[in-house]
């Protein structure tokens, strides 16, 4: 202790000065902190508050309920079904494997499904509910619920899922829905955010996809509070979305079911159109498939079965399939000739069984020939030579023009998938597409609906409707959207001389009602429901000279896929037409034997709104018809009028 008191005084003063400096510096730094705090919490507070809100609030979409599709009488074609499923939350489960095994025992899950569920469970965050099993019966849900105490973390839930109560009846028309695929998303420029919801289903085919915009509705949103790892803490509020719009079709489900059942076992298509306004009352393609399988996710074996079936169940033969119309095209040729003034209705053409032009011989279906044939008789007998001759006179351009006026070769604006335009050839078309000049032979082929001519059953039905009504009706599938009747506007006149139309209609009357008509056996024996039609048999092969020589004409001798297509178009009742019908039976043989009986049944069903009365049939056929009707696998509609099901 050498320090003197003076030294100590001096030292203390120095320490005090330095202490003041230190304290000052610290206070200064604290002021900086305070200023920074003030800057962040006062000046920038709003900005940070916003960031904090963004942090904690998450927007979740509420999937909208898809609009329903009804038939013209209000029967549900596409509805929403309550879908019971079992979800599992990993963090609440003690042993995932054991729990899954228990669920599999209760609701009969296969090992594949268990493995899929396991993968998804492990991939997701532990608090995310994962669907383990779907589409359970009430019984299965009850089993799960009863065993709930032994299955912590497992809960039954209910959601909505698309359901088609008519099963295959409308598969081609309405289509089906399926989960959004990456391909679907890639096609859209500005995808609706609702599409990002896992398992969200959109239309994949038919009306479901064409009217997707109306059916889907708008997603609602709910704001939920989440924590840092995304767990939902609570729901703050929700903005309800907009349910999908309901759609009513012009189709009659009862008729549709009858058509589908009537064509069972055939590869066929049929269309029924209201001749006055173009409403499609029935549009069936056989065989069909159950669209519900696609909604659930079709199995590979089921899908292969559909694609490998030679009857092509997935194809919509009514609008997508185009066929040579065969003799059903003869009305077009006849009208073309009448309009061109190259023949009068009573003028006859001599049919020796064949027709020679440009060194080629064109055959009539009747080898012996028809003799003297006028317009009416030519339709009744479907004489080919008559049409070769009048077509040669009228020319392809006139025929094509009339065909188009009747709605052939036109892609009708229908909300279905792959609607085909068919083909009405003319000189310009052949030059452009074949690089060849039009030949007279081409005209002759076209005259009897062969050669290049292609039409869909839909187009043939429209043609028949226009012939029957004299109005240029266009087919309509959508009756109303959201209860608002779709405007069809003023139906323009067909612009064909009514007298000419009358000649053609009378010819069609004779086809079905004259003893010598090609479809006389498919006549209607009820004066109020008289049917007028036209048969067609379209070749899918060329008859070689060798075959002709050997006389191989009988379709039953040929393999199925080489047999002729059978067609029939008709309208009824004759004096006051209401419906037009077209039927094609692929490789069915003759139009009179394969297609006309089906068309008659469908026509009568359409006019009668119930099973046709046996009295409408010729007496000798009634037993056979009654048996046939008894064999039909028709749907009972009583229990099916369900309302809107909501979760």
């Amino acid at each position: 202790m050498k320090q003197t008191p003076r030294d100590i005084e001096e030292s203390n003063r120095r320490i005090s000065r330095r202490a003041l400096f230190l304290g000052g510096a610290q206070v200064a730094l604290m002021s900086v902190l305070a200023l920074r705090m003030r800057y962040m919490q006062v000046e920038q507070a709003d900005q940070f508050r916003l960031l904090a809100e963004e942090n904690r609030i998450n927007m979740r979409l509420i999937p909208p309920t898809r609009g329903l599709i009804f038939d013209r009488n209000g029967r549900v074609i596409a509805g929403n079904e309550q879908n019971y499923r079992v979800v599992l939350v990993r963090e609440d489960v003690t042993d995932v494997d054991e729990t899954l095994a228990a669920i599999a025992r209760l609701v009969a899950l296969g090992p594949d499904e268990v493995a899929r569920a396991k993968t998804e469970i492990m991939r997701r965050s532990p608090f995310v509910p994962v669907t383990v099993a779907e589409r359970l019966t009430w019984q299965q849900v009850a089993e799960i619920a009863v065993n709930a105490p032994a299955l912590p973390g497992v809960t039954p839930e209910v959601g909505l899922s698309r359901h088609y109560p008519m099963e295959g009846d409308f598969a081609h028309v309405v289509g089906y829905v399926g989960p959004v695929s990456d391909y679907d998303l890639s096609k859209l420029e500005d995808p609706d955010p609702v599409l990002q919801i896992p398992r969200f289903q959109i239309g994949k085919n038919g009306v479901e996809t064409k009217l997707e915009h109306d059916l889907r509705g708008k997603a609602g949103t709910k704001r939920i509070e989440v924590n840092a790892v995304g767990r939902v803490i609570r729901e703050l509020d929700r903005i309800p979305g907009q349910e999908g719009t309901d759609i009513q079709l012009t189709v009659d489900a009862g008729l549709q079911n009858f058509m589908q059942a009537r064509m069972e076992g055939e590869s066929a298509g049929a269309v029924v159109v209201d001749v006055q306004n173009g409403d499609i009352l029935g549009i069936a393609s056989a065989p069909s498939f159950d669209p519900n399988k696609f909604v659930r996710g079709i199995s590979v074996s089921d899908y292969r079965e559909l694609t490998e079936n030679i009857y092509r169940p997935l194809a919509n033969k009514t609008v997508q399939g185009t066929y040579p119309p065969g003799s059903t095209f003869k009305m077009v040729t006849a009208l073309a000739a009448l309009e061109a003034g190259v023949i009068s209705p009573e003028e006859t053409v001599w049919c020796p069984g064949h027709f020679e032009t440009a060194g080629r011989r064109f055959h009539c279906w009747k080898r012996g020939g028809h003799g003297h044939v006028n317009l009416n008789y030519s339709l009744q007998q479907s004489c080919d030579v008559y049409y070769y001759e009048v077509a040669r006179r009228a020319g392809i351009e006139k025929m094509a023009e009339v065909a188009r006026r009747l709605g052939l070769g036109e892609r009708h604006d229908l909300p279905m998938s792959a609607v085909a335009g068919g083909l009405i050839p003319d000189k310009a078309w052949k030059r452009e597409n074949r690089g060849e000049e039009w030949l007279v032979g081409d005209t002759l082929n076209a005259a009897i609906g062969q050669g290049f001519v292609l039409t869909s059953p839909m187009q043939l039905a429209v043609m028949t409707a226009r012939l029957a009504s004299g109005k240029a009706v266009s087919p309509r599938l959508i009756k109303s959207i959201d209860g608002i009747e779709q405007d069809i506007g003023e139906i323009p006149d067909l612009d064909i001389n009514p007298t000419f139309l009358d000649y053609v209609r009378r010819g069609m009357f004779n086809v079905s009602n004259n003893k010598r008509g090609t479809a006389y056996s498919s006549r209607v024996d009820d004066d109020a429901l008289i049917l007028a039609g036209k048969t067609g048999t379209s070749q899918v092969r060329n008859i070689t000279a060798a075959e002709r020589a050997r006389g191989v004409f009988r379709n039953s001798d040929l393999p199925w896929e080489r047999r002729d297509h059978a067609l029939f178009v008709c309208f009824a009742p004759y004096d006051k037409p209401r419906v037009a019908v077209s039927v094609i039976v692929e490789h069915g043989g003759g139009g009179s034997t394969a297609a006309a009986p089906i068309a008659r049944d469908i026509t009568l069903r359409a006019l009668h709104d119930d099973l046709p009365p046996l009295t409408a049939y010729p007496a000798y056929q009634r037993n056979q018809i009654e048996e046939r009707f008894q064999d039909l696998d028709l749907r009972s509609f009583e229990e099916n009028v369900t309302g809107r099901s909501r979760a």
Binding site: I15, L22, M30, A52, R56
Partner: protein, 381 residues
Amino acid sequence: MSYLEHNLRTVPTGLRKVLYVNWALVLLLTAVASVGFMMLYSVAGGSFTPWAEPQMKRFVLGLVAMFIVAFVPIWFWRNVAAVAYLGSLLLLVAVELFGTVGMGAQRWIDLGFMMLQPSEVTKIAVVMILAAYYDWLDIEKVSKPLYVLIPLALILLPTAMVLKQPDLGTALLLMIGGGAVMLAAGVHWLYFGGVVAIGAGLVTGVFASRGTPWQFLKDYQYRRIDTFLDPASDPLGAGYHITQSKIALGSGGWSGRGFMQGTQSRLNFLPEKHTDFIFTTLAEEFGFVGGFSLLVLYALIILFCINSAMKNKDRFSSLLILGIATTFFLFFALNMSMVMGLAPVVGVPLPLVSYGGSAMLVLMAAFGLVQSAHIHRPRRL
């Protein structure tokens, strides 16, 4: 009459010491600790477990420790300064050998009844040895180079060991805390100018050496500096802490979102919300008013200490108080700068508020020293 005698005769004894305790300081410390209890209660979602209750027990334990230390005469503490210093060095060696690794650093020793962080003890021990050193040193020798090198070595030895752990925050605290004592002791300004220059050079060196095999810092420390300089560069990775902490703080606004209403902390967006980032919860829930109030409490503690140091005629006491006050200041200043985005995330707790045992105990013991110096200060009769 020697100074010592003069001193001894005026020193309070027995229960009279209780009267001489700086009660205002005790009150301030309790106030700050109470803010801590409240926030720990809040971040636990309105529960005393798992944090608030143990913290309260520790504070009571800390108060007891403080009074025990306070009632022991200050010259005893001066005499054991060297022992304390050596002991803390031994602890640092021990942590190197037997320590537990936590958060990428070797910092803890398991004493059986508690986890001890030797670097906490070191902070106080360094201040003690330096204060004792300058108490012993002739005043005119203070700025002589040789006598400057000795305290420098005393500081740098533990600093190097702490850096090895690695614990950047403590190393910083040791250097600045020790430097403050040297400054207060009257070491010439030029030395500090030199240190600042060397420091600047070192920082340059740290950045220049990055990526080379002999880089100064560990990769994660570099990353912390990166994210400090630009938190937005990695908002969900290393910058997440800073970004979220700033959001919490800023969103508090003027008066906060209300007790237990802080969405950032309640929804777990805040990292380490009960330890290093507890200030953000306070700022979120009580806004600027709350944050500033805590700062004022801290400032009052500092001012009381400095006032006490200036009035104390005993060199050791003055320097000790100043050293401890500065260390305390560095704790909260660094922590607040960190959560406000003014300093990199260095892992310094908010003193007396953050959940943590050894920091609380050591700090309370250090305030015991401050109290002891205050009680046993030389007085005129």
